[in-house]
């Protein structure tokens, strides 16, 4: 059942940073609690602040296997939970001899062998440490949330023909969401909640330095400050951490060692993805 993986909050931040993910107080404590209380963790925040990365890093830090359920419009039970392999069932029925009674066939056809396990069921049935990542939960339809409720509160799945399957070992569950729609109260109540936002200047600099170690500290500092200036403008899409990292890589690849007007003008496309944002940033930073 519940087998905590982390000893303390400090342990969380230490092992996650070893896995390449720099935490702050809130992240470390929340991950620690999710692990300790055995509750799913709902991570919300703008695109590119490292929600999915967090789950991956936790999987790496705990030596667990990462099972990922990517949500999209039209995701259903058959893709998320389990499905009967009806082709194989059909074969079994056709291959049966005449003296097989219907009861035998019936019991046989709805057995483990004919069950196709999908991410949620796979995660529940595993006996080794597991991290289950339910990515972009807000993209899925509202009905999928209902489906998740049983899995997330009791860590069990009911299959009418087989009975209820309970987790032998609780997976560590991460749900991510971009908040394009409000998730239901029922789902939120079952989860711990972590809002990831753009990081503080120091943390962002540390992240850039750890992800792009070849970059000079001076340049990283300059870059982070510029990104923060961009975020303070009213842009359609503010640049996030992943864009900062991309920018650092771009500067490195181009061999630029200082971020002046010229450098920003030529590489702005890496951080801003809307034409109107370009115009706005250009005029506010007085690039031309």
């Amino acid at each position: 059942m519940l087998q905590p993986q982390f000893a303390s909050t400090a342990d969380v931040s230490e092992r996650l940073s070893a896995a390449g993910y720099l935490t702050d107080d809130a992240i470390a404590t929340t991950v620690f609690l999710a692990d300790r209380l055995g509750k799913p963790l709902l991570v919300e925040g703008p695109a590119g602040v490292g929600k999915t990365e967090l789950a991956k890093a936790v999987a790496e830090a705990t030596g667990s296997e990462l099972i990922r359920l990517q949500c999209y419009e039209g995701l259903d039970e058959a893709r998320a939970l389990y499905e009967w392999n009806y082709k194989k069932q059909l074969l079994r029925i056709q291959a049966s001899k005449d003296d097989d009674s219907w009861d035998d066939i019936h019991d046989d056809v709805f057995a483990e062998e004919f069950l196709l396990s999908r991410p949620l069921l796979t995660a529940i049935r595993r006996t080794e440490p597991t991290v289950l990542l339910i990515d972009e939960t807000d993209k899925a339809d509202v009905e999928v949330e209902g489906l998740l409720l049983e899995v997330l509160s009791d860590f069990q799945i009911t299959i009418p023909e087989l009975g209820t399957i309970s987790a032998t070992r609780r997976p560590l569950v991460f749900l991510t969401s971009n908040a394009t729609r409000e998730l239901s109260e029922a789902l939120k109540r079952r989860c711990l909640y972590l809002h990831l936002d753009y990081p503080s200047a120091e943390r962002e600099k540390a992240i850039v330095l750890s992800r792009v170690p070849e970059i000079a500290e001076q340049l990283a500092e300059q870059l982070v400050r510029t990104v923060r200036a961009l975020r303070s403008m009213e842009l359609k899409k503010s640049p996030s951490i992943s864009e900062s990292i991309d920018w650092a890589r771009t500067l490195l690849a181009l061999g630029l060692d200082t971020l002046d007007e010229e450098a920003v003008r030529t590489t702005l496309g890496v951080v801003l993805k809307h034409a109107s944002d370009h115009e706005r940033a250009g005029s506010q930073l007085k690039l031309d």
Binding site: A26, T29, F32, L33, R181, A229, A275, R280, L287
Partner: protein, 468 residues
């Protein structure tokens, strides 16, 4: 768990609920369980634990932080001991017992300048604590003290340090370019950080004197989306404008979800026959074509005179953010005469820019620059007869404060008759409608008038407006 802590926790949750954060019993139990797992002496862990278990919306975070500061104030140690430290750090050996004689603000400002330049958070927090102690106290009545953040911030006026800080930070680089903009942003951020520290320290002092329950009611600011448009400060408006795109995206998502759930259209013969091959030619499942979504045209006429401009801007931004839900969006602005402003809103263009250009370039004043709904409506009907047709949803935005001029209700009535839907969005509380120079009563007979005081009400209205 000890009784004292439990009581504190319950008081804290009550205060949160009063501030509009819904906390269910299940969440209270989770929070309590979480406390058993963490190190209770680490205040930031405690804050994170409560946040993880009880907070489920980022909008509630500021209220949560303010209340947490009140109910779980940081321990700062013996006040007199920290006082001695403070004087050493502040560099004013001459000042004796606290409160006697005016503190040397120049020295304090120098210290603050250095701190803002370094950006060392811990040192800044210590400095905030000391300055609140030295500058923030006022004796309001004999034996009663009060603490004010504005006394500290006015005394130090950190904003006025900007010029010299810029000089330092730019270190000889050219002024006026990108470097300055970036440096300015860095400093602004640090100053805001310092202001927040001062405010939180003042809250702590107040809570120490009077108890947390007393302060909980006043310490929390209303959420940006619940702030009245007519009373919104500039900061509120900036915060609201930031929320336009997320809001539009939420509305659009909800709309597509609703459309998908709605009944489907005519039988798709080809897909049905193709699918029937899998079941031996028997069409077990029929497939249908999706309904073509009905997209109305939107015509917005808005009063952009001083008092209601904020509301008009926000609504226009939202209308353009949602423009793909409509076949066409046309916007008209007026003060005492009416002009089309659609030309400022280019597709993919910057809406904030468009608003600025609109107020600068559009021809909105005819007579004296006071709101004149009657003349503007007449002008609109005469100049743009094609703007309202049988497919149009017509929105009029304004408080209907007409300065006692002619209302021209028949003009409005004919516009409403031509449009498919017509609504008047009024940012004034319904209780004030019809008072003073408000022509609400006259107009409400011709058009459905809706009270839209804040972003929440606007969101609800837009949901009603958008077709499914």
């Amino acid at each position: 768990m000890t009784g004292g802590l439990l009581e504190r926790e319950i008081g804290f949750f009550h205060a949160l609920r009063d501030a509009g954060v819904n906390i269910s019993l299940a969440e209270v139990l989770d929070a309590t369980r979480a406390l058993g797992a963490i190190d209770l002496l680490d205040r930031e862990s405690l804050r994170a634990a409560y946040a993880a278990t009880t907070l489920k919306r980022p909008a509630h975070r500021p209220a949560f932080d303010a209340l947490f500061d009140l109910w779980f104030p940081p321990v700062t140690g013996d006040p007199s001991a920290s006082g001695r430290d403070g004087e050493a750090a502040g560099g004013e050996p001459g000042e004796g017992a606290q409160g006697d004689g005016p503190p040397d603000t120049e020295a304090l400002r120098d210290a603050l300048r250095q701190l803002l330049l370094d950006g060392d958070e811990e040192a800044m927090r210590r400095f905030a604590r000391e300055t609140v102690r030295d500058l923030g106290k006022a004796d309001t009545a004999p034996g009663r003290q009060n603490w004010f953040s504005y006394r500290v911030l006015r005394g130090l006026s950190p904003e006025t340090l900007m010029a010299s800080l810029l000089d330092n930070l730019l270190a000889g680089q050219q002024r006026g370019g990108m470097a300055e903009k970036v440096a300015r942003q860095t400093i602004t951020e640090r100053i805001r950080q310092f202001q927040e520290m001062v405010e939180s320290e003042v809250r702590r002092r107040l809570a120490e004197d009077r108890g947390a329950e007393q302060l909980s009611k006043t310490a929390v600011q209303p959420l940006a989306e619940q702030v009245d448009f007519l009373r919104a400060s500039r900061n509120d408006m900036v915060e609201l404008r930031r929320q336009v795109f997320p809001l539009a995206r939420r509305l659009a998502t909800r709309l597509t979800a609703k459309r998908r759930l709605g009944r489907s259209g005519r039988l798709d013969f080809r897909r049905t026959v193709r699918a029937s091959l899998a079941t031996g030619g028997v069409p077990l499942v029929t497939h249908h074509r999706p309904h073509k979504p009905h997209k109305p045209e939107l015509t917005v006429i808005c009063d952009v005179s001083g008092s209601v401009a904020g509301f008009a801007h926000f609504t226009l931004m939202l209308a353009y953010a949602l423009s793909e839900q409509f076949t066409k969006v046309r916007a008209f602005a007026f003060i005492d005469t009416c002009d089309e402003v659609s030309r400022f809103f280019t597709p993919g263009g910057d809406v904030a820019d468009a608003l600025a250009r609109m107020s600068a370039e559009a021809n909105l004043v005819w007579f004296d620059g006071h709101s004149d709904y009657g003349h503007s409506l007449k002008e609109f009907a005469a100049t743009y007869p094609d703007a309202v047709g049988p497919r149009t949803s017509l929105l009029i935005l304004g408080d209907a404060r007409n300065n006692y001029r002619a209302t021209e209700v028949p003009v409005l009535r004919s516009l409403v008759a031509r449009a498919r839907h017509a609504y008047w969005l009024n940012p004034e509380p319904q209780a004030y409608w019809g008072s003073g120079d408000s022509a609400t009563t006259a107009y409400a007979e011709a058009i459905e008038m809706v009270e839209v005081r804040n972003a929440v009400q606007l969101e609800a209205f837009v949901q009603r407006l958008l077709p499914t």
